[in-house]
């Protein structure tokens, strides 16, 4: 189990027999290949706004997967990180009239700071307790933003995050155009791929997995387990904050539902569906999840029934997630 899901996470492998060399190549260049896939993605989607949603949720799940898949902690409060990023980006534009790039940076910082605050309180617990503490804290964040009506619009949500044009070193891009909006979002997501890939390939990345594999052994080897956990959680917050900021720009609103525990639950679902602890799995999970929901709900009002059945089939036949199982197969071929 462990060796199979880790395959994509270990770019530096002992040279293997020639039949799997393409696999090693793909693993080394995972960020570039993922980036290419993202660029071609809108061509195969029913509509661009959905493709952008999938990217954003994929990025959110990517950040979540860092904690869940690589560090081995199940967080049930990631909506707080995602939502804080979205709200900070939105508030920066609506209330302070700041440029879009400053708003995105503020969104990332929001995710980082919120993760530091929640992480500092929750990181000492583990297992089901960690899940419960993070969920409780994210509910606190929900009510904080819910009550701050003057800043967040409360129940009605934050409206007016209207960016019509993106000024890029003199190049003016029409942000209302769906394809341009998609590729601007994609640029940030691809950058995040490279950053994440770098983190995982670094010595620190190896420590993250060492902590997951055997905490006592990692500690005995001289690593500070608590600090590793906290730093990983904060990094995860940065990715989720970026995803939230992009979501705010894409929708031009931030609904209070973004902080609801449903949003925390969906990301667990997406990571499991795609394959926890795999690099590209969360993107696949987001694509399958949102696409299914979208297509089936056009077709019947009882879409939840159909989608639920398909999830059960996935759990039965893809125990390591869709991407995780494919990788396992590729490795054994």
């Amino acid at each position: 189990m462990q060796s199979s899901v880790n395959e994509m996470t270990q770019p530096l492998q002992r040279p293997q027999a020639t039949p799997v060399s393409w696999f090693a190549f793909a693993t080394t260049h995972r960020a570039s290949i993922a980036g290419l896939a993202v660029l071609a993605f809108p061509l195969v989607m029913p509509f661009t706004a959905l493709a952008a949603n999938i990217l954003i949720y994929g990025l959110y799940a990517l950040g979540f997967n860092l904690v869940y898949g690589y560090l081995g902690l199940l967080s049930f409060g990631h909506a707080a990180l995602f939502g804080t990023g979205a709200y900070l980006c939105g508030i920066a534009i609506v209330h302070f009239g700041l440029p879009w790039y400053v708003a995105i940076v503020l969104g990332i910082c929001g995710g980082l700071v919120m993760a530091a605050a929640i992480g500092a309180l929750a990181i000492r617990t583990r297992g089901i307790y960690f899940a419960m503490v993070t969920m409780a804290l994210s509910q606190c964040v929900y009510y904080l933003f819910y009550e701050a009506v003057g800043w967040t619009g409360g129940e009605n949500g934050l409206r007016g995050i209207n960016v019509r044009e993106i000024d890029l070193f003199g190049l003016k891009l029409d942000f209302i155009n769906p394809l341009i909006r998609y590729y601007v979002i994609a640029a940030f997501v691809i950058a995040a791929f490279f950053v994440l890939s770098r983190i995982l390939a670094s010595p620190f990345g190896a420590v993250i997995e060492a902590v997951r594999e055997n905490e006592a052994r990692a500690r005995a080897s001289g690593y500070d387990v608590t600090a590793t956990r906290l730093i990983t959680f904060i990094l995860s917050g940065g990715f989720c904050g970026l995803a939230g900021a992009l979501q705010a720009l894409h929708w031009s609103i931030v609904p209070i539902e973004i902080l609801h525990y449903d949003t925390s639950g969906i990301v667990v679902m997406i990571a499991l569906l795609g394959g926890m602890g795999t690099f590209f799995g969360p993107m696949i999970g987001a694509a399958v999840f949102l696409l299914l929901e979208n297509i089936v709900s056009l077709w019947t009002e009882h879409w939840q029934l159909v989608v639920g059945a398909i999830f059960m089939i996935c759990v039965l036949f893809f125990p390591a997630g869709i991407w995780g199982t494919l990788i396992r197969r590729a490795k054994h071929d």
Binding site: L50, P255, S297, E301
Partner: protein
């Protein structure tokens, strides 16, 4: 040679027969009409409503009534032969989903107009997406915020009532009749807060005494700790400002606690679907407001015509309050298209602003500054006896006539005069 002629002749005859019969069948069927019209671009109206979720019943009624408005427009020849089409999307009562669906409707389906929504937050989300892209949006659910200058744009129209009008009408009816000591039981979210604000505003004129506002979270199923607190306040009137299932349960438990013996219960909005679902006992004697009730047909020919058309299309069923809004929202836009003679956005906006209409509930028009539909608000009382049919659940006991005096003023909303 002869054989080939025979063969040629037989094919020719067969082909001739096929062509003639197909042509005849085509000429006889209504399909032909569709084929001819498909060549012209249809007028597309996006219709995001929460088909799944707690307001699914209301939303499905909205779709049925909107389809009726489309059918009537098409049967009437459309816009010089151009037909209209309704693109229904499920917004799942979620503003984010609604924003995505609206982006789909505008960017991919290239709809001419958007009508729909059944929640304050959802309509504000749709409105933000459509106004940025210069697409007309006619909202058919209640909100006070959508009238305010911050959210308004020239593309924004509001066919539904808003909490200020609804609570105002019920307050004006109830406060002089039942007493001045008023207690509130309120769902703790925007809709509830806006309703209470409306009641307190109108209450000032009548000098009511606010005994207290007891709030409950959305989705409360047990009011047994709240109701004795209300009873100990000894109010003349209890305002219950919640919606859907919360309203059904609160009214049922209030009845069981005997609140009705000493206190008149009023609600800003009595939902037809809730009343049908909860049954007559829980709602007995409760007074509230609504935008439409089919019983108006005794008063207005337009209501009679709407009811009859709806009955005919849907096996004798009668339209509900929210259904009527779906009809009104689509029909006004299509009427404006016809008056403007085009689907050009600016010309349709001008036509909507100029529209004086009576389509289903008596005279209405859109106010210039905030595009709020100025219309009557009905005050209704739930009844449990002498029910003529399964939809006969309310009696109309009063009405606020359409008047801008019952709306918040343009200055108050932040619009420049």
């Amino acid at each position: 040679m002869a054989r080939s002629i025979t063969a040629f002749g037989s094919i020719s005859r067969r082909r001739l027969l096929t062509t003639v019969s197909a042509g005849a069948a085509l000429a006889a069927s209504t399909f032909r009409i569709n084929l001819v019209q498909a060549e012209e671009a249809t007028i597309k109206i996006g219709f995001p409503v929460p088909l799944t979720g707690p307001y699914g019943t209301e939303a499905q009624d909205q779709v049925r009534a909107a389809q009726l408005a489309i059918a009537e427009f098409n049967d009437g020849g459309g816009l010089n032969g151009r037909k209209a089409e309704l693109l229904v999307r499920d917004d799942k009562l979620n503003p984010g989903e609604a924003a995505t669906r609206t982006l789909e409707l505008v960017e991919k389906d290239k709809v001419n107009f958007v009508v729909g929504s059944l929640s304050a937050a959802v309509q504000l989300a749709i409105n933000n997406v459509t106004k940025e892209r210069g697409v007309i949006f006619n909202s058919i659910s209640q909100s006070d915020a959508i009238n305010e200058a911050a959210d308004f744009s020239k593309y924004t129209f509001h066919e539904a009532l808003n909490p200020h009008m609804t609570a105002g009408a019920v307050g004006r009816y109830a406060f002089p009749k039942f007493g001045k000591k008023v207690a509130f039981l309120t769902a703790d979210y925007a809709y509830g807060h806006e309703m209470v604000r409306g009641f307190l505003d109108v209450g000032k004129t009548f000098g009511i005494e606010n005994l207290g506002d007891i709030r409950h979270p959305l989705g409360t199923t047990d009011y047994s700790t709240l109701l004795p607190r209300i009873q100990s306040l000894k109010p003349d009137i209890l305002c219950i400002s919640n919606f859907g299932r919360d309203q059904q349960i609160a009214l049922k438990q209030a009845t069981d606690f005997g609140v009705k013996k000493t206190t008149q219960i009023i609600a800003p909005l009595l939902s037809h679907a809730s009343r049908v679902a909860a049954g007559p006992q829980a709602f007995e004697g409760v007074i509230g407001g609504c935008s439409f009730y089919w019983g108006l047909e005794e008063k207005f020919a337009s209501t009679k015509a709407f009811n009859d058309a709806f009955r005919k299309m849907y096996d004798g069923k009668l339209p509900s309050d929210y259904g009527a809004l779906g009809y009104g929202g689509v029909r006004t836009v299509l009427a404006a298209v016809k008056n403007a003679g085009s689907t050009d956005t600016d010309r349709v906006i001008a036509a909507l602003e100029a529209l004086k209409y009576d389509f289903y509930k008596g005279p209405q028009y859109y106010r210039q500054c905030d595009h709020q539909s100025v219309q009557s608000v009905l005050v209704i009382k739930s009844k449990s006896k002498d029910l003529r049919n399964e939809s006969d659940v309310f009696e109309i006991i009063g009405a606020d006539e359409p008047s801008e005096a019952n709306l918040r003023s343009c200055e108050e909303l932040g619009h420049k005069a």
